[in-house]
């Protein structure tokens, strides 16, 4: 039972992060392979808040999310402003998350080099950096993430994601993902709309990072590798473009099933890789692409199976 609960918790945390990727990649059409970096930023920030500054845990999660969101502008602003499309941004996300991981790996060394600093700020920064533990990890965090916290967070995350993607802001993002030039000509502010999507997306990842740290009771840079980013991307690719319920289900399956079948672990990424290609060739919209959360697809399935409603043939 304890084992199953552990899986539910891990799935829930990854669902929150995957929803973030869904908003960015699925709805706004921006390819990210660096969301692990935002998870790391949010995780470490909320851990520092709780452990060093005694900020209450829920508030710390929000601060972590907001921190990740603000940091995302470091890559978002230059990449979106240089009006060339997707590729710059995708490369920047990968570089950014690797840079974050490198920095976190070396916090001890950085801290030690600042030890001789005379200013009180330098001293404080030095001791904090040493506490973060570099590659060894940031240890002894309070173990406060439990299954209820995760369930509530997932429910809230799903609710707010739904509100966002069905709002005028979300619909503008969808238009950008379909034809950026036309969207701009019709009056959509590309930079602003993309930055909002990115902020929300990084916020989600940051909160997920915080949940993760307070579940494992430690954080280390090795939790936030490109493998983590690939897992999140996989959830969205398989779950479906422009869908929240799809990535929700696939995140559950992709995290849950491998946890249950440990021996499968080595093969997991290989299979994901082949599936990426197969899905793109045969079902690019993913499992539940373009399916909104109102479950109207159940009705359509019902019609398709039981009523055999004749669909008029397409013209043109």
């Amino acid at each position: 039972m304890g084992y199953l609960i552990a899986i539910v918790i891990l799935c829930g945390i990854n669902i929150v992060a995957a929803l973030g990727v869904a908003i960015l990649t699925g709805y706004t059409g921006l390819f990210t392979i660096g969301h692990a970096g935002f998870m790391a930023l949010g995780g470490y920030m909320s851990a520092i808040m709780v452990k060093e500054l005694n900020v209450p845990y829920p508030l710390a999660l929000l601060i972590g999310g907001a921190f990740a969101g603000i940091c995302s502008f470091i890559i978002g602003y230059p990449a979106f402003r240089s009006r060339l499309r997707g590729d710059y941004f995708a490369i920047a996300t990968l570089g950014f998350s690797e840079a974050i991981r490198l920095l976190l790996n070396n916090t001890r060394g950085l801290g030690q080099s600042l030890q001789d600093s005379t200013s009180s700020f330098g001293q404080g920064a030095s001791s904090l950096l040493i506490k973060l533990g570099g590659a060894f990890g940031y240890m002894n965090l309070p173990n406060v993430t439990n299954v209820w916290v995760v369930v509530v967070t997932v429910a809230l995350a799903m609710f707010f994601a739904h509100m966002y993607v069905t709002s005028q802001y979300g619909k503008n993002s969808i238009a950008i993902s379909q034809d950026e030039v036309a969207a701009e000509m019709m009056g959509v502010n590309l930079l602003k709309t993309k930055l909002i999507s990115l902020f929300i997306s990084a916020f989600y990842a940051g909160v997920a990072g915080g949940l993760l740290g307070f579940y494992f009771a430690y954080l280390s840079p090795s939790l936030f590798t490109i493998t983590k980013s690939s897992d999140l991307l996989a959830a969205v690719v398989f779950g479906g473009i422009q869908s929240l319920i799809g990535p929700f289900i696939t995140a559950f399956v992709l995290i849950g099933v491998p946890e249950l079948l440990r021996t499968f672990a080595e093969w997991r990424l290989i299979i994901y890789g082949f599936l990426f290609v197969i899905v793109m060739i045969f079902r690019p919209q993913g499992l539940l692409g373009y399916v909104e959360m109102n479950f109207s697809f159940l009705g359509r399935w019902w019609n398709a199976i039981f009523r055999r409603k004749h669909t008029p043939s397409q013209k043109g």
Binding site: I33, R81, R83, A90, I91, G273, F276, I281
Partner: protein, 291 residues
């Protein structure tokens, strides 16, 4: 001063390896307008084939290199046939092309990881003694790696600008549709482009393996090549080489004078600065979309 010259030579050599990767990346980008994320997998594949040929089959270096190049070409062309061309055929959005390429990358890198494990291996060639000019020691490996990389780039240039097939590739990079209407065989161009990709990634993989180590994730270095081609200007071959040289030299200077720990961090900050102040790269042209 000695340190400076040593770093400069080392920087040019690493810049040459980046050039191979950046050119391969820019080649696919300029013709097909998408980022070939599988490039780093091709590179690791090429390095591991050469590694295995030498360490398990005891082949000489040149034979190992030849086998590696041939097999990497086959891999690259198969990836094109199986994963990219079906998407192009139905005009899939670029996002889908990138995801497909990412899939090829994940599959190959993790198959290598499954077979060899994630450890770092030394490339099985005898270390060449450095040459001393006065007090300056210059790595002979650097000279060989840099030299061969430049030869490969020169051959590539000759191919693109002195042969009919090269002309077909260049025409397709300007406008692939018009090129095909003018009688250029699109399938032929695709095979040529991915053959070149295979050669470039294999050579880069071998020399990168000799200079550092052979390991499944070694292809992560292609992010440097991508940064280099953005610095130069996306989609242009000479710009990719210039960007690679600048990045290689600056990086080696940072690791020589500051610390190698911050080398990668520096590259990334450099990318952000370039994006902020030269959104089209140092030599790139602004790309206009046809309405």
């Amino acid at each position: 001063m000695e340190l400076f010259i040593q770093q400069l030579v080392s920087g040019i050599s690493i810049g040459a390896i980046y050039s191979l990767l950046a050119v391969g990346y820019a080649l696919v980008y300029s013709v097909y307008n998408f980022t070939n994320w599988a490039f780093d997998a091709f590179m690791a594949f090429g390095a591991f084939i050469a590694f295995t040929s030498i360490s398990s089959l005891f082949l000489p270096f040149w034979a190992a290199g030849a086998i590696s190049i041939v097999l990497t070409i086959i891999l690259a062309v198969s990836a094109e046939k199986l994963a990219y061309s079906p998407l192009r055929a139905r005009k899939a959005p670029r996002l889908f092309m990138m995801i497909s390429a990412m899939g090829v990358n994940l599959a190959i890198v993790n198959i290598i990881n499954l077979i060899y494990g994630g450890t770092f291996r030394k490339f099985p060639v005898d270390a060449l003694q450095p040459i001393f000019i006065g007090n300056v020691s210059i790595g002979r490996t650097d000279l060989v790696a840099g030299g061969i990389s430049f030869v490969v780039l020169a051959l590539l240039w000759a191919f693109l600008y002195r042969t009919r097939w090269g002309l077909g590739v260049r025409a397709s990079s300007i406008d692939i549709l018009t090129a095909s209407l003018m009688g250029i065989n699109n399938n032929g161009v695709a095979i040529v482009v991915f053959t070149l990709t295979g050669i470039l990634s294999s050579v880069a993989g071998i020399f990168y393996g000799i200079k550092y180590a052979v390991y499944p994730m070694m292809g992560m270095v292609t992010i440097k090549a991508m940064i280099a081609s953005i610095v130069g200007g996306l989609g242009s071959l000479p710009a990719a080489i210039v960007g690679s040289m600048i990045l290689g030299i600056l990086e080696t200077m940072v690791s020589g004078y500051i610390s190698s720990t911050y080398r990668d961090l520096f590259s990334f900050l450099f990318l952000i600065v370039i994006l902020l102040f030269f959104p089209n790269g140092l030599m790139g042209k602004s790309v206009e979309e046809k309405l």
